[in-house]
Point group: C2
Chain length 166, copies 2
């Protein structure tokens, strides 16, 4: 048996988040179309554009470790995105739709934050300095997106859902 090392784990997890990012890239326009609140729509559109840049950074990290960019099916993001799409169907035309979409987007963000946090730590331990820089850039973007979504959640979107529900 060949020992699997931290390098292998790094490579596997890179393929996992590469799959996840491409899945998210496809999902965000659907969420943007579904969102009723303009600010939420814009937040999804902005994150879609950011996601393209994040995929480009992943290409660079693959290059750093001398591998071709390849995706590996990630059941976690499949499940998270599936839940978001259920919300889109089940709450279509309902006042609480935006609150549900926001929650789905935050679940996506948190998955990404955990994966990029892990990859950054491993890149540090493997001495891949340039990869650390790239992964930290994305991690900072994801954390900011999550914070922005929290602000939206605490203000207009949910208040609107509550008012219409009252």
């Amino acid at each position: 048996m060949i020992d699997k090392t931290l390098e292998d784990l790094f490579h596997e997890t890179l393929k996992d988040i590469y799959y996840a990012e491409r899945k998210i890239l496809k999902s965000l326009p659907k969420m943007a179309r579904g969102a009723q609140d303009q600010k939420l729509k814009q937040a999804f559109e902005k994150h879609r554009d950011e996601t393209e840049g994040q995929i480009e950074r992943l290409h660079q990290v693959f290059e750093i470790i001398g591998k071709r960019p390849r995706a590996k099916t990630c059941p976690a993001i499949d499940g998270i995105v599936e839940e978001g799409e259920e919300i889109l169907e089940e709450f279509k035309g309902n006042p609480a739709l935006d609150a549900g979409l926001l929650a789905a987007a935050q679940a996506i963000e948190h998955y990404e934050i955990s994966r990029y946090g892990t990859l950054r730590t491993w890149a540090q331990q493997l001495g891949l300095k340039d990869a650390v820089t790239l992964l930290e850039q994305t991690l900072a973007e994801e954390s900011k997106t999550d914070a922005d979504l929290t602000k939206l959640a605490e203000s207009a979107v949910n208040t609107a859902a509550k008012k219409k529900a009252a």
Copy 2:
């Protein structure tokens, strides 16, 4: 068509995290058995015990909204746990196993953090004060667990994986 409200969304998401917690409760002992590092083993065992208390709090939140505790299949946690179990199989006996388990546990924590954060915000907006208190208690525990896992990730576990890989 009956309008689905924030109350409905809160109830649906409560069933989702209830399913997730019960799934995590079953998964943590497997992860504890698989872990090589004693501190990591203990962290999983401690979190297993905490999870029991978190499920009990969910029972109380169901009671507050006048519903019976029921679970709703959550594809997101199914996917996240599946990835953890893949790591257990693929990296069994390998130096990087613990680093992989740690990463899987952090993905679980982040899913929970996003769900409890969402539920707490909605409970506030719905004026469910006692539910807010319960959800915040769990949210604080999950955040602490994640921080503890980060500390472990940055110290012994990954260093060991790297050394053996060198």
